[in-house]
Homo-oligomer: 501 residues x 2
């Protein structure tokens, strides 16, 4: 018995511990959640005063419950969502009230039975029609809640009108208390620690850019790292690279919800044009497509066939530099969004194009990669040329030593001088092994091409959102942050073999 | 005046026309929407009978409005969603009622003022705590609506208890009518033309597989087609390839919502294990990752640098065959899901591995692709070897003629016998131009690797969902459908140059 008690005690303790941890985690991630909770509690207390205080109760009466109901249902996390729901509720109620009175006005004079049939029919048709309307994408997006409230109110008034004499008085009283509830909600969400959807959308865009920057850098670092790959393959879903770009991939619904709610917010229309929501959504779409390329790049790390380390290392410097430049560009874009200033396109393109050029040069200077299969006499023929090309000599020789072990067996076979298909397959082994590297490089170039689209969208965003002009010096201070932010980043210098060019 | 009238008439006509079109489109896409609308209308009429019919009204009284409210709010499109909301509503109401009575029992004896303060405080704390609970992911996912109803009911009862004497009676009456409303909703959603989330999830999985199959086939077809590319570049967002895989990319929230609602549905627990929702969600995740690779493949069609047509054509046959095999495999998987039968893994692997082998062979048989930069004397050296390899002769010669025009200028420069870096860059032009093709081929291989993961998940699905065993003959009938379904598909025969092997 004692032991059982102890175990129960332990279980309860553990359960409470994990519960507390989860509760604490939700609040730590975003303290605004706690603030919002307190705001809801406060609003409910305020609205219950309508019932508790004698003078107020005399004015409002039992209909105060509708105010409470309104506060519970309408007060949402962000100001935009609250306004959207509040205005939808108001609009739906008003429309439903008008329609219900119109119907009542038409049918009131008929007999009791006929009136009941009329009510039944109108409830059926209005119910079916408004439910069907909710499936139309445009209505669903903006007015879904409004239609529900319309249907609810219409039914309540129409049905009540059958028994209650003065429905007009009842309905207007309800509308009145509902308006009080809506008023409290709007007051709370707009003026007391307001939480703006537009701001969330803005920050989310910046953080997506940062996540992409980190994952590209990490991808390239891991591809050229000395560690054995494929170790963390099973838990690839939880690896840091995936974590960084995950938010981008599934951002569509979040983006659209935030933009929808932000469209109801008045704030951002003050200091400039209307808040450019659609531009944020467009940027989100471009970032998602950028993200898909990063996924493919990440996929290169996990394929079965891998280019040998020695060959990969030849391209390490240009690839790393390109990745660093892309990351830097993305972080600069993120910074420009965060600080509401326009980005500096010159900085972006100059370094980036240089890095791209370097990768291109590196790729072009390695045609020998695929010449390993040439018979020895041809090898000899290439040698005089190689001596003259001192700048690529180091790689070429590294490549030679790297492939020496392979070549011994190949050349042994070749000396038999009977070219067969099987030999053919062996001699060209290099190409199929270089394939993944080619894909990696190609995707990296693709990333740069997509980066261009991202830059265009961010520039457009800066223009339509009236971000402040870029000033020289802005970037210097922020670049320090950039370097600090990305502790993983390894900004490699110009590779030695390119200095001669 | 007459003209103005005419124009107004025209505008109204046009507006009504487009409205009707949109309404019609929503219904044509999914007739279940119309059925659901009628169901809602019917339920509302049924529930309003509580108020309209004298004997029923005597039993229920004015509280019938709560039944109407319940029907409006709870009756959702799918059975799962309705059950989820209905049970949440019931649970929330019961819990709130119990808690409210407990509080009332504690505080009732204190004075009027103290009691008011106690109510205010409890409303504040319960409001803040339950709002905060809604932010916890697990609660938000399953019980969000329940918490809202809990909060609503708790507040209504607690506040009412201050003025109304017999709250217990009022509350139990409301609960009673609410139960009637819930009952009608559940009856309607479970027994009259039920719409199952689980079925939707099942069909959605199959249609995602079909979409991917179509887009892979279309991608490869377009890559090797003779039409000029880049024509439809601007409207790439609307091109058919994108349309086919679009649904897969943004499927996360749909999958999760359907799975969540399906988890409340009783139906699928009858004939086997519980309906394997998590397996569908897992399959969805794998399909999304498969989709990202397809995006990258699609990206190869849109890059600036393109491998020349002549070179690409060399790989047309193996790539097309591989794509056809992948599409066939995906369609077979889709069919197996649609028909609730296990897929035939032998058929998949045999053909697929053959196609993969062919692509591999094709790639290996083309090391010459990158030998364009070898001086003429080396070219001569390779000739004896080529003569013996009759099977690859056709391509090699095609390649030669394709590159002849380029080579003229290159060799002219080479004859100067002064190897410089700039020449180096020109002679190896072929590699950087072959890069996109290499990426394309590599991604195609990657697609096959990901296909393996998809097959594993579908097989696992077939196992846990107790799909019927695969029987010989099943595939034959369905394969006919497959071919009919994919009118675009071009199932190429074995390319002539491989028959010799």
């Amino acid at each position: 018995m004692e032991a059982w008690k102890k175990r129960a005690h332990l279980y309860i303790k553990r359960f409470l511990g994990s519960l507390c941890q989860e509760i604490w985690k939700a609040g730590r991630d975003d303290p605004r959640k706690a603030i919002h909770s307190i705001k809801v509690g406060l609003s409910l207390t305020l609205v219950s005063l309508l019932y508790l205080l004698e003078p107020l109760f005399k004015g409002v009466g039992g209909n105060a419950v509708w105010a409470v109901m309104t506060v519970v249902v309408v007060l949402e996390f962000t100001a935009g969502a609250t306004l959207c729901k509040g205005l939808n509720r108001g609009l739906g109620t008003l429309l439903a009230g008008s329609l219900a009175f119109l119907f009542q006005f038409i049918a009131r004079e008929s007999g009791k039975v006929l009136y009941a049939i009329f009510i039944g029919a109108s409830v059926f048709f209005i119910g079916a029609i408004s439910t069907y309307l909710r499936f139309i994408p445009n209505v669903k997006k903006n007015y879904d809640y409004g239609v529900v409230i319309f249907l609810l109110t219409f039914n309540l008034i129409t049905i009540s009108s059958y028994r209650v004499e003065n429905v007009l008085k009842m309905a207007s009283e309800r509308l009145y208390t509902m308006a009080i509830g809506c008023g409290i909600c709007i007051l709370m969400s707009l003026f007391i620690f307001p939480i703006w959807s537009g701001q969330d959308l803005h920050n989310f865009s910046a953080s997506k850019l940062e996540g992409l920057a980190k994952s590209i850098q990490a991808c390239v670092d891991e591809y050229f790292s000395d560690r054995e790959q494929g170790v963390g393959k099973n838990e690839s879903m939880e690896d840091p690279i995936y974590e960084n770009y995950k938010a981008v991939l599934d951002s569509k619904s979040i983006d659209e919800t935030l933009a929808l709610h932000a469209s109801w917010e008045p704030r951002h229309t003050w200091h400039c044009n209307p808040f450019p929501l659609q531009q944020y959504v467009k940027l989100g779409a471009v970032l998602r497509h950028f993200g898909y390329t990063v996924v493919a790049l990440h996929g290169c790390l996990q394929t079965e066939i891998q280019t040998p380390k020695s060959v990969r290392l030849l391209f390490k410097d240009p690839c790393s530099r390109l990745a660093t430049e892309v990351s830097k560009a993305l972080l600069e874009l993120a910074n420009s969004i965060r600080n509401h200033r326009q980005c500096s396109p010159e900085i972006l393109s100059d370094h980036l194009h240089q890095a791209l050029q370097d990768l291109d040069t590196a790729l072009k200077s390695q045609p020998r990669l695929f010449l390993g299969s040439i018979p020895a006499n041809m090898m000899a023929a290439t040698k005089p040329e190689k001596h003259n090309l001192s700048s690529v000599k180091t790689e070429a020789s590294a490549l030679m030593s790297g492939w020496r072990s392979n070549r011994v067996s190949i050349e042994a076979e070749r000396r038999s001088l009977r070219p067969t298909l099987s030999k053919m397959a062996i001699t060209s082994l290099e190409f199929s092994e270089a394939l993944p590297l080619a894909a990696f490089a190609s995707l990296l170039v693709e990333v740069v091409a997509k980066l261009d689209l991202v830059i265009i969208e961010v520039e457009e965003l800066g223009r339509v959102a009236c971000f402040k002009e870029f000033e020289v010096g802005d970037d210097h201070h922020e670049m320090v942050n950039v370097v600090q932010d990305t502790s993983k980043m390894h900004i490699s210098g110009l590779p030695s073999n390119y200095t001669a060019e």
